[in-house]
Amino acid sequence: MHTTRSQQAFQIINFIILGLLSIMCILPLIHILAVSFSSSAAATGGAVKLWPIGFNWSSYEYVISSNRFLNSLGITFQRVLLGGLVNMILIVITAYPLSKESERFRPRTFYAWFFLLTILFSGGLIPIFMIIRETGIMGSIWALVLPGAVPVFSIILMLNFFRGLPRDLEEAAFIDGAGHLNTLFRVYVPLSLPALATISLLTIVGHWNAWFDGLVFMNSPDRYPLQSYLQTIIIQQDFTQMTEQDIKKMQLISDRTIKSAQIFLGSLPILLLYPFLQKYFVTGITLGSVKE
C-alpha cells in the first residue's frame, strides 16, 4: 500500500513517543534489578543506576532464607487461586442471566441496577470493616476473597460478550433439551475463552496487587499477603520524628538491595504471566463490546 509522506511522519513520531513511553516503564524495573544485584554499600550511596556495582547474589540468598517473604508469597498464591476461582464462578453465573432480555428474565432491570449501584456507592472503610468483624472472617483468607467476590466491571464485560454470541446457538441447545445450566457451561463458556482469559488476567492482577485490605483485615503481620508485606518494608520513614529505636531499626532494614530483591521477586510471577494472557486482552475486550 502506498503511504504518503505525512503518514510516514506520523509513523515515525508514533514510534518515538511510544518507544520513549515504554523506556520510561521499563527503566525503573531495570534500576531495581541492578540495585538488587549490587553491593549494599554502593546501593546505599546511591551510586547504582542501571548496571549493578559489585555484583553479588547475597540479597537473593537472604530473601530466600527469610521466612516472611516466602510466607507472604504463599498467602498471595492462596489468595490468587481461591479469589480467582470464586471471582470467575460468580462472574459467569451472574453475567449469564443478566445477558438475557427483560422479557425472559423479569427482575433483570432490578438486578442490573442492584449491581451497578455498588460501582457508584460504597459503604466506606469503617462499615466494611465492621461487616468483616461481625461475620467473623477477620484475619482469615476469606476476608481478602469475599469482599471483592463479585467484580461488577468484569461482569459487565462478560455479559456483553455473552450477548455477542448468536442466539441461534442457545435456541438450538434448548431444542436439544439442555437447561440453562447445560447451555451456560457447555455452550456459552467454551465459546467465551478469549473473554474468560482477559477477565481472569484482570482478576489475578487485581488480587496480586491488592495490599490495603491485607493490612486492614489481617490480624497479624505473619498473615500479610505479599504486597502488604512489601508495602511495610518500603514505606518512607518520617525523618522529622525519628527516635533512637527507629534509627536502630533503620540500620537493620535500610538495606536497599534486599528491598529491591523483594520488589523484583514480588513482581516476577505476574510479569511471567502477562505475555501468555496478554494476546487475549485486546480481542477479549473488543469482542465483548460488539453488540447485535
Binding site: T44, G46, S102, F114, I126, L215, T243, I247, K249, M250
Partner: protein, 554 residues
C-alpha cells in the same frame, strides 16, 4: 413500564434500608463497644478478683490489648504474642493474663488504630497517638488513672517524670491523669554537629568552638577538595528539604525551628517568625550562594541526603547523637578512611547555644473506662523498668532482654523510656571498658560493651556503636548538654488544637516554600518580614491565640 416502576421503588426502599442500617450502626457503636467486646475481652470476669498486698491478682485478670510487631523479633518455638517470657512473667508475678486482639506492622499502626477507634471497639488498653488520646478523652471512653498513679510502684512512677514533668502533664485533663505517657528521650536526642574528622585532619583545621570556626570548616570542606580527588564535588553542610538537619544550626543563632517559646511577657510565640530566624536564614543564603550547600537540597529528603553522606560528598551534618548508626555507619562501611565525631553545637555570639527540645512523648497508654484494675498497667510497667533498666543478672537478661538471637525485650506489653538512658549507659560502659569489670552492667549495657570491645578489636562494622557510646562518643556531648541544662523546651505540650489541625498542614507547606526560596536566593532576605505578616494572616494569628488560651487555662 410497570416493571420498571416497581424495580425503582424496590431500589429506593433497599437504599434507604441500607443507609439507615449504616447510620444506626455508627451511632450505636461507641456505646455498644463494651457489650461488643465483652465476648473477646473477659476483663469483667476478673471483676471479683482483688489485688492483695503483694500486688498479685487472684484469680488472675485478663486484659485485652493490640500491638505492633517489630520485624526483628522472632518467637521461640511454641511461643506467641500472648505466650512469651514477658507475658508469662506478668501472669506469674501479678496474675495478669494478656490477650492481643491483633498485631500490625509498625508503619500501619496509625491507620489500624484509627479504624479500630472509628468502629468503637477499643481493647482494655493500648498505645494511642496524641490526637487519638484527645478524641478518646472527649468521647469519655477512658479510665481515670489518677489514683492508680498515686499507688503505683516507685520505679514505675519515677520513670515518667525523669525528663521533667511535661510528659505527665501532657497526659492530664482537668487535673486528672487520663493516660500513662510513653516517655521518649527528647533531650537526649538533641542535635549536635557531626564532622568528618579525617577531612579535618587532612586540611589541618581545628575543632570548632564557635560558629565562625564551623563556617570556616564548611567553607574548607567545599573548596579545598577534602576527599583529594581533585574535583570540586563536595559540599560543606548537609541540608534536607524538611530542614530536619538544620535545627542545631538554627539553635546556634538562638533561633528555634517549629516550637513554641515564651516571650518576655510570658506569652507563647511561634519560634519560626522571630528575628533570630531571619539571621540564620540569611547565613544559609550566603552558604548557598558560595555553593556550600547542595543546590538540589530542595528536592532531597533526609534519605537522599544520607546517600550523599554515604558516598562521601558532605562533611558536616547536624543530627541526633544516634546518627552514628545511621547513616554514618554506612559511610564508614563504604569509605575505609571515613571518620566522624560529634561536637556540641556552637554559638554565633558570646551567648552559649541552647538546644531546642520537643515534648517527645511517643504515645499515650490509655485504659478503657470499664476496666476494673487500671493499676495493673503500672505493675507491668514496673516489671519493664526492673528488667530493662536495672537487672544485672545474666540469666534473667537472656530470658527477658536479648538471648543473642532476638530482641526479647520488644515482647513487653507496656514500656516507657528513660530520659537519658543512653547517656548514662555510655558512662557505665566506658567505665567498664577502662576497668574491665562488667559486674555493674545490665543486659543492655553488656550488649553495647561487647560491641565496642569488638570494634576495638578491629571490627569496623560496629564503628557506629563506638561513635555513640565510646569514650569520645556522641553521648558524651549529650552528657555535656545535660550538665549545662542547655535546653529550650517546646512550651506547647498538648494534642493539636482545632485551628492547628485545620491550618497546620497548609501553613507548614507555605512556610517551607518561603524558607527554601530565601535560602535559594530566589527571594531576598527582606522577604522574611513579608513571610511573617503572611503567616499571621493565613491562620498564624488564630493558632497563636488558641495556643495562648490553652496555655493560660492549663
Amino acid at each position: 413500564m410497570k416493571n420498571r416502576v416497581k424495580s425503582a421503588f424496590l431500589l429506593v426502599i433497599l437504599a434507604s434500608l441500607m443507609l439507615s442500617a449504616c447510620s444506626k450502626n455508627n451511632d450505636a457503636s461507641p456505646s455498644e463497644s463494651s457489650s461488643g467486646t465483652s465476648s473477646v475481652s473477659p476483663s469483667e470476669s476478673g471483676s471479683s478478683s482483688v489485688a492483695p498486698s503483694d500486688g498479685k491478682f487472684d484469680p488472675p485478670i485478663t486484659l485485652t490489648t493490640v500491638g505492633t510487631v517489630a520485624p526483628t523479633v522472632k518467637y521461640a518455638s511454641g511461643d506467641s504474642v500472648d505466650n512469651n517470657p514477658w507475658t508469662r512473667e506478668y501472669e506469674k508475678r501479678y496474675g495478669i493474663k494478656l490477650k492481643t486482639l491483633w498485631t500490625v506492622d509498625d508503619s500501619q499502626w496509625e491507620t489500624k488504630t484509627n479504624l479500630m477507634i472509628g468502629t468503637g471497639d477499643i481493647p482494655d488498653f493500648f498505645k494511642a497517638s496524641p490526637a487519638q488520646f484527645k478524641q478518646l478523652v472527649d468521647a469519655d471512653l477512658l479510665a481515670d488513672l489518677t489514683s492508680a498513679f498515686e499507688s503505683a510502684p516507685d520505679r514505675a512512677a519515677k520513670i515518667l517524670t525523669e525528663g521533667g514533668n511535661a510528659a505527665l502533664d501532657s497526659a492530664k485533663f482537668n487535673g486528672k491523669l487520663m493516660a500513662i505517657p510513653f516517655t521518649g528521650a527528647p533531650k537526649e536526642g538533641s542535635q549536635m554537629v557531626w564532622i568528618r574528622t579525617d577531612w579535618l585532619q587532612k586540611l589541618s583545621l581545628p575543632e570548632p568552638k564557635t560558629m565562625d570556626d564551623l563556617l570556616k570548616i564548611i567553607d574548607a570542606f567545599t573548596t579545598q577538595d577534602p576527599d583529594g580527588n581533585s574535583k570540586n564535588d563536595t559540599f560543606g553542610l548537609a541540608v534536607d528539604k524538611d530542614f530536619t538537619t538544620l535545627k542545631g544550626f538554627f539553635n546556634g543563632y538562638h533561633a528555634y525551628y517549629d516550637i513554641w517559646i515564651k516571650d518576655a511577657e510570658g506569652k507563647l510565640q511561634y519560634s519560626n517568625i522571630q528575628p533570630e530566624m531571619k539571621t540564620a536564614l540569611q547565613k544559609l543564603q550566603e552558604l548557598f550562594k558560595k555553593k556550600q550547600i547542595d543546590p538540589e537540597f530542595g528536592t532531597k529528603d533526609f534519605s537522599k541526603v544520607a546517600e550523599s553522606i554515604v558516598s562521601s560528598k558532605i562533611g558536616v551534618m547536624f543530627n541526633s547523637p544516634y546518627a552514628g548508626l545511621y547513616p554514618l555507619q554506612s559511610n564508614v562501611d563504604q569509605d575505609p578512611k571515613a571518620e566522624w565525631k560529634a561536637f556540641p553545637i556552637v554559638s554565633a555570639d558570646s551567648q552559649p547555644a541552647k538546644n531546642q527540645t520537643a515534648l517527645g512523648v511517643l504515645g499515650y497508654w490509655v485504659v478503657k473506662k470499664e476496666v476494673e484494675h487500671p493499676e495493673a498497667l503500672f505493675s507491668m510497667l514496673d516489671l519493664w523498668v526492673e528488667m530493662f533498666y536495672e537487672n544485672k543478672d545474666d540469666a534473667l537478661n537472656k530470658q527477658f532482654i536479648n538471648d543473642g538471637n532476638t530482641e526479647i525485650w520488644q515482647m513487653n506489653k507496656i514500656a516507657a523510656y528513660r530520659a537519658f538512658k543512653n547517656a548514662d549507659q555510655r558512662i557505665k560502659v566506658t567505665h567498664a571498658l577502662e576497668t574491665k569489670d562488667t559486674s555493674e552492667l545490665t543486659g543492655d549495657d553488656k550488649g553495647v560493651y561487647d560491641k565496642i570491645s569488638a570494634f576495638q578489636a578491629g571490627d569496623r562494622k560496629l564503628w557506629g556503636w563506638n561513635a555513640i557510646f565510646g569514650a569520645e562518643g556522641s553521648m558524651g556531648v549529650t552528657d555535656q548538654y545535660r550538665k549545662n541544662n542547655a535546653y529550650v523546651s517546646d512550651e506547647f505540650i498538648a494534642a493539636p488544637l482545632p485551628a492547628m489541625t485545620e491550618r497546620g498542614a497548609d501553613i507548614g507547606k507555605f512556610m517551607n516554600e518561603r524558607f527554601t526560596k530565601i535560602i535559594y536566593g530566589a527571594s531576598s532576605i527582606d522577604e522574611f518580614d513579608k513571610f511573617v505578616s503572611d503567616w499571621k494572616q493565613r491562620g498564624g494569628d488564630a493558632i497563636t491565640s488558641e495556643v495562648n488560651d490553652w496555655f493560660a487555662n492549663r
